[in-house]
């Protein structure tokens, strides 16, 4: 009896605490009219900024007036955003808006899991202005099974890999960059650099560009071809073009154009240090002038292909409304305002005029020290970029150039197809292990593809690759027939 007594006591205590707590939190939800003032919690990626509070006061004064809403903006650091959002989502915590994308707080995964609210109706009702402001390809490509789960940011639509060159070195040795259209064209240039410049690595370690739209992620073997038979899922490591490209890369490696530690190195090759000749980057209009400014010397670019619209590029930066949100309509109203109202958008991005930046008569701006030091916001992650003010040294037609770039971007065959990996999870885990063993060394040219590609494919086969390819093909065909 005594024994039972103490356990009983503990049990009652615990239950009591739980009951007391849960009854508190349950009572808020009901009874809200559209006139009530609400506060929205918004999680955004980016390093917390010292002046955030000051700017948010201004933001809230404005949003209160416009839509009777305040914003509680929480910046979570780059490196921990993913993990934090995962815990927050799984714990069912109540929040309203969160940043999501293909590379952080995974959009497709969370949408499928039911963490985000479906938005089609909400946009119809409260997002008309936003719908007009954004390139329709974003709304089209970001839909999962016909439903949009987050609002894409209006930005560059296509993705284009380019080779960028240290122009000073090119000029010094009189190298003709205009002839370079592929990695194979680099050979004569690299040879000159290798022979003439001792402290320079001709190639700043990069992964070879392969013309595929990859499913899951860039390193995994599953992909669609960008030309030829584009409706077929293939193992990109079994394609001829891969063998060719990797052979070229390995040839460069043997000739010493690529650093010896390429396979394992995590060097970030800072632009400020001019110890490289060519590197691979993702382009957007006028990127070369931004890079040149960062580097402190001139950088030239050569495109490797036309800009393609991938799932990754349309879902590169988005805001989702949480399924746990108590004020989804208000959240949609706010996102609509954020993406269409230049004053609000610039305030969140650039800070307060006079404190964080100065504006001249033509409406061009210059950063003041306060913005660089204490209000350095991740501009591309917040919302519509095309209503941002331009800097004095920006080209005046910057946003026009973006629109033009978007116009000429070519949709990838699998744009809008999101693979549900649940049926083949075990195989994917095994394949991912094999991939991370082989692909870094192969893609960076550090090993001979003639020897290692067959081995790699053999192991992929053993890990159950065919089953995954079949599953992707099945889902793709089903998706395609609905288009």
């Amino acid at each position: 009896m005594k024994k039972l007594g103490i356990w009983g006591l503990i049990l009652t205590l615990v239950m009591g605490i739980l009951a007391a707590c849960s009854s508190d939190s349950g009572s808020e939800a009901s009874g809200e009219s559209s006139d009530d003032h609400v506060t929205l919690t918004w999680y955004l990626i980016g390093t917390p900024q010292p002046d955030l509070e000051m700017v948010m006061e201004e933001v809230n004064a404005y949003t209160k007036e416009e839509i009777n809403t305040s914003i509680d903006l929480k910046l979570l650091d780059w490196g921990e955003y993913d993990e934090r959002m995962q815990v927050i989502t799984t714990s069912g915590e109540n929040y309203d808006i969160a940043f999501t994308s293909s590379w952080a707080n995974n959009y497709a995964l969370n949408a499928r899991r039911g963490a985000f609210m479906p938005l089609n109706d909400l946009i119809e009702e409260h997002g008309q202005e936003f719908k007009e402001a954004i390139n329709p390809a974003f709304l089209e490509g970001a839909q999962i099974d016909g439903e949009l789960y987050a609002i894409p940011t209006n930005k560059e639509l296509g993705q284009q890999a380019v080779l960028s060159f240290n122009k000073e070195l090119a000029d010094k040795h009189d190298l003709d960059l205009s002839s370079v259209n592929s990695i194979a064209d680099l050979e004569p240039l690299l040879e000159v650099i290798k022979n003439e410049e001792s402290g320079v690595s001709p190639i700043a370690t990069f992964d070879a560009y392969l013309p595929f739209d990859s499913i899951l992620n860039e390193e995994m073997p599953f992909a669609f071809r960008l030309d030829g038979n584009t409706d077929e899922v293939v193992n990109k490591y079994a394609e001829d073009v891969t063998m060719e490209t990797l052979t070229t890369m390995h040839d460069y490696y043997k000739k010493g154009y690529i650093k010896q530690d390429a396979a394992t190195s995590t060097d970030s090759w800072p632009l400020e240090t001019p110890n490289w000749f060519v590197r691979k980057e993702i382009y957007q209009p006028y990127a070369e002038s931004i890079w040149s400014r960062t580097a402190g010397y001139e950088i030239a670019v050569r495109p490797l292909h036309e800009p393609y619209i991938f799932n990754n590029s349309v879902t590169g930066s988005m805001q989702a409304i949480s399924a746990t949100s108590k004020h989804p309509e208000r959240a949609m109203q706010f996102l609509n305002l954020l993406n269409t109202d230049p004053y609000l958008r610039n305030l969140l991005d650039k800070g307060i005029e006079g404190t964080h930046y100065e504006e001249n008569e033509e409406g061009m701006i210059t950063d003041l020290p306060a913005r660089v030091e204490s209000f350095n916001m991740p501009s591309f992650a917040i919302g519509n970029q095309f209503i941002l003010k331009l800097y004095e040294d920006d080209p005046a037609d910057k946003w026009e150039a973006f629109e033009e770039f978007n116009e000429k971007s070519v949709p990838s065959p699998a744009l809008g197809f999101y693979f549900d990996s649940n049926p083949v999870r075990t195989e994917i885990a095994a394949i991912s292990n094999v991939t991370s063993e082989f692909s870094p060394a192969l893609l960076k040219g550090a090993v001979d593809p003639k020897e290692y590609l067959p081995q790699f494919n053999q192991k992929l086969e053993e890990a159950g690759m065919q089953k995954v390819i079949d599953e992707i093909q099945k889902q793709y065909d089903a998706w395609k027939s609905e288009q």
Binding site: K2, K3, I6, W7, I10, I17, L18, C21, S22, S25, T47, P48, P50, K74, L75, L76, D77, W78, G79, E80, E83, R84, V87, I88, T90, S91, G92, E93, W103, A104, G199, T266, D267, S268, P270, L271, T273, N275, E281, I282, Q284, A287, I290, W291, T294, N376, P378, S379, F380
Partner: protein, 284 residues
């Protein structure tokens, strides 16, 4: 023998010396040559950079010290009281309470339930208590302390104190505690180290920049760096992101200032440490 031990000691200290050397290297020469034992060019740039961040670092230091001091006191108090109670044979529920403590060593609820309890039931998000309370009780230390009490404090002393009319509190505070200083000091050191090095609780529960402890600040910088390297397409277009994060030498300089104080305090604990651990280590 001395040479052997000396070499071993040097090997232990060497990584730290290396970190100091890197923190004093010139950033450009790091980018070109990688880490070198004797850098081509010495530079105090990294520390100058940290000096710019001094407001943030000072705040983080303040949080870390507050959490460590407060946490150690709370933790030691709870552990000592709990362990003392279950070390006394007269306490009839000692088996149950020992089991409750022991049980937590075998099973844990997992991260998500932990997060839910902390944020939704206890409402500790963005509170300094979120950094202190989760680590206040450690079942393993309770069991070490219990054994320590049973070994070092003879039943006869407690018996005679009781005959002289001392209350339970008085016995605990004036007789048991002074006799157990080595044990207390040991768990105090463990707690201090644990609190000083903790970054995970801050990762989960702290959004407010003014409540971020030092190790967590360091951890954030490190993980940002990793993240940005893996997602290089971000930095290509948004070079300001990379600029806002310290480079190699500055990161090493942060390691130095985050580790030095605790490393220097270590020798002062050491004499208790040896005695306390050997006695407490014997289980029965």
């Amino acid at each position: 023998m001395h040479i052997l031990l000396g070499t071993f000691a040097f090997l232990c200290v060497f990584p730290f010396i290396y970190v100091i050397i890197i923190s004093l290297s010139n950033e450009a020469s790091l980018a070109e040559n990688g880490y070198q034992l004797i850098p081509e060019e010495w530079s105090f740039e990294a520390y100058a950079y940290l000096w710019q961040m001094r407001a943030q670092i000072a705040k983080a230091y303040g949080v870390t010290i507050a959490v460590t001091v407060l946490g150690t006191i709370i933790s030691v108090a709870i552990i000592a009281l709990y362990a003392y109670a279950i070390s006394r044979r007269q306490f009839i529920y000692r088996k149950q309470f020992t089991f409750i403590a022991f049980f937590t060593m075998l099973f844990s609820g997992g991260m998500v339930p932990f997060y839910i309890v902390m944020t939704q039931f206890l409402d500790l998000k963005n509170s300094i208590w979120a950094l202190i309370l989760p680590m206040a009780v450690n079942a393993f230390y309770i069991i070490i302390m219990r054994t320590f009490f049973m070994r070092t404090v003879p039943e006869a002393i407690l018996e005679s104190a009781r005959i002289d009319g001392a209350s339970e509190w008085r016995i605990f505070l004036t007789i048991v505690l002074p006799l157990s200083i080595p044990g207390i000091a040991t768990i105090a050191l463990f707690s201090t180290l644990a609190y000083w090095n903790d970054w995970f609780n801050a990762l989960l529960f702290i959004d407010d920049p003014s409540l971020v402890p030092l190790q967590s600040l360091l951890m954030r910088i490190e993980s940002n760096m990793d993240f940005i390297q893996q997602n290089s397409m971000l930095t290509n277009q948004n070079s300001s992101i990379l600029n806002s994060i310290p480079q190699d030498s500055a990161r090493m300089a942060m390691v130095v200032i985050a580790t030095l104080p605790i490393a220097l305090s270590y020798p002062f604990f050491q004499k208790y440490f040896i005695r306390g651990l050997t006695i407490g280590g014997v289980k029965d």
